[in-house]
Symmetry: C2
Subunit: 340 residues, 2 copies
């Protein structure tokens, strides 16, 4: 097949997250032409994501996007999924078969499938296939890095064991500082106490409003914007964001290659806190990874999945496979994750 | 009635906590003579402890203790209960009636009832009716203080919003430091990582072992003794305990009277961590409340409840009433909490 032919192959990119599925269709030459989103998240059971439920939700969404782009079937499919790293072997063995069956893997143009953790699609979306590190910071926080021979991850342990510097971390620290002021303990902020009581009612009711919830980390993270809003005039809030930036930079440094000319980017909803966080973050990254160039993320995780599908079709996927992060199943090898 | 007569009055003291009821019987002259414990905790509903269930569990236990001490009925009853501070008015209105009815409140020697938060019984058990502050530190952490005209409380907000320096706080910080070492982030301790993996299995499984549990704070606190065990040889563990001591001293300072000659004590299971915690704690208390004399706690919360019953019988209860902490219902005023 000619290089020109490969650049016309039809790509289907999928991003599966907590708010549902998103798909993009296009070719390596065109880039993503059509995007569609579904609202239902894929069911998660004891052994992780349910591959049949994923297929069930994906197929109509993908067919609609393919039709809109004027295509019948994709030649390469890449799926990025939250929670991929914790999935068992069954999922990884089954999903490529399911996708190949659904999307006509028998055809001569079929290039195969890529399954990836959302950390990898976020990485590739932000930086492409270059060495570096990406800090994905929202309610939680994970850093993912590669020197193109192996992946390195840091944090992502959840709001009790880690996610240091995340939205939940910042919000929790802000509420603690508010309650310090309430009690007259050191390190308190009356400004944060006022903001907290305006948002959540009297402090005495906060434990009852938080502990019975199942989405505690989201409740904590909902206070992070208040901390950012207070920071310009409140030294306690300012120090919380400085410390968060220090944690984020520490995670970036742990994931980033120590040599070469890596690039580093921060993605996720937390960057919307703006300058009160991103200012200190630039400084802390410069200290923690002085050899890395800070860049804005080029694209989102769906763009990353598209790049993975494109890399598979073009044969230029220069990223290291990893059973917990990135599994490539080429044409004719369905069900047998490539490990080379 | 003569002072001698009052000193022979029969006292029933009750401590209601998560592990069940404990009772003590004696007289002001004798002190507690008989102690008994039940294993069933009092049911807690939406409006707090169920007063009828408390009575149901208490009566047989109290009757057995009274009989063993050679008495038929108490003349004063004091109940200290975990969760008292968050109870509604109904409980406070109903329980004195229930107790007076059960234990023969019609008699001429009947002195009444005292209902108290476990924070108050811990305070009185540790310090008696003197001004000062008590830090109760176990899985959680609360400081309670009084200048004898009002109560002051600090922290006790639970493991996400506060309880700074508690067992859950120390354990959580220890596990975070272990995972920092696992990831190669700054501030990690390989010693804590080894201890953690020996106790909880491979680090990758910790989130799954912790987050689905309903007793997360207890799981976190279970790691606190490992942090203390590592502290003599591990600077990260040592700094965690130093920081915990600083938090505990900050809570003590917030609760302690600012003037006079207050006494301060630390109670609860956390002191069993020994010198790695209590050493720094002595130093931090000396910095945070330099005017307060540090003393070992004289007795436990049940001894505190006994002291409250004795104070009611002798008329020397010099502690401030507080609807959320200490309600005294004298003879003939059942159902009407005294507010003077």
């Amino acid at each position: 097949m000619s290089a020109t032919g490969a650049r016309e192959r039809v790509l289907l990119a999928v991003d599966s997250g907590g708010s549902g599925l998103r798909v993009a269709v296009g070719t390596p030459a065109s880039g993503p032409l059509v995007r569609r989103a579904g609202r239902e998240p894929v069911r998660t059971g004891a052994r992780g994501l349910d591959p049949r439920h994923l297929a069930e939700l994906l197929v109509p969404l993908a067919r609609a996007a393919l039709a809109e782009a004027g295509h019948r079937a994709p030649d390469a499919v890449a799926v990025g999924a939250a929670g991929f790293a914790s999935l068992g072997d069954a999922w990884r063995a089954e999903l490529p078969d399911v996708l190949a069956r659904e999307f006509g893997g028998g055809r001569g143009t079929w290039a195969g499938t890529v399954l990836a953790s959302d950390a990898v699609t976020a990485y590739v979306g932000a930086l492409g296939c270059r060495p570096g590190a990406v800090v994905a910071a929202g309610t939680g926080l994970t850093a993912t890095g590669t020197d193109l021979s192996a992946w390195r991850r840091a944090d992502g342990w959840g709001h009790l064991l880690g996610d240091c510097g995340s939205g939940a971390w910042i919000g929790r620290a802000g509420l603690e500082a508010a309650l310090r002021a309430h009690d007259g303990r050191p390190g308190g902020s009356t400004t944060l106490l006022e903001r907290g009581e305006a948002l959540l009612g009297p402090a005495a009711g906060w434990p009852q409003a938080l502990y019975p919830r199942t989405d505690r980390s989201a409740v904590l993270a909902s206070f992070a914007p208040e901390v950012a809003a207070c920071a310009p005039a409140d030294p306690v809030a300012q120090e919380i964001l400085r410390e968060a930036a220090r944690h984020m930079a520490g995670a970036a440094a742990a994931a980033c290659p120590g040599g070469g000319e890596p690039v580093v980017a921060v993605t996720g909803g937390l960057v919307r806190l703006g300058e009160p966080l991103t200012g200190p973050l630039r400084e802390e990254l410069a200290k923690a990874v002085p050899h890395a160039r800070q860049v804005p993320p080029a694209g989102d995780p769906l763009a990353g999945a598209f790049r993975l599908a494109s890399g598979l079709a073009l044969g230029d996927l220069a990223l290291p496979p990893d059973p917990r992060l990135l599994c490539v199943t080429g044409a004719g090898t369905a069900g047998r994750p490539r490990t080379d």
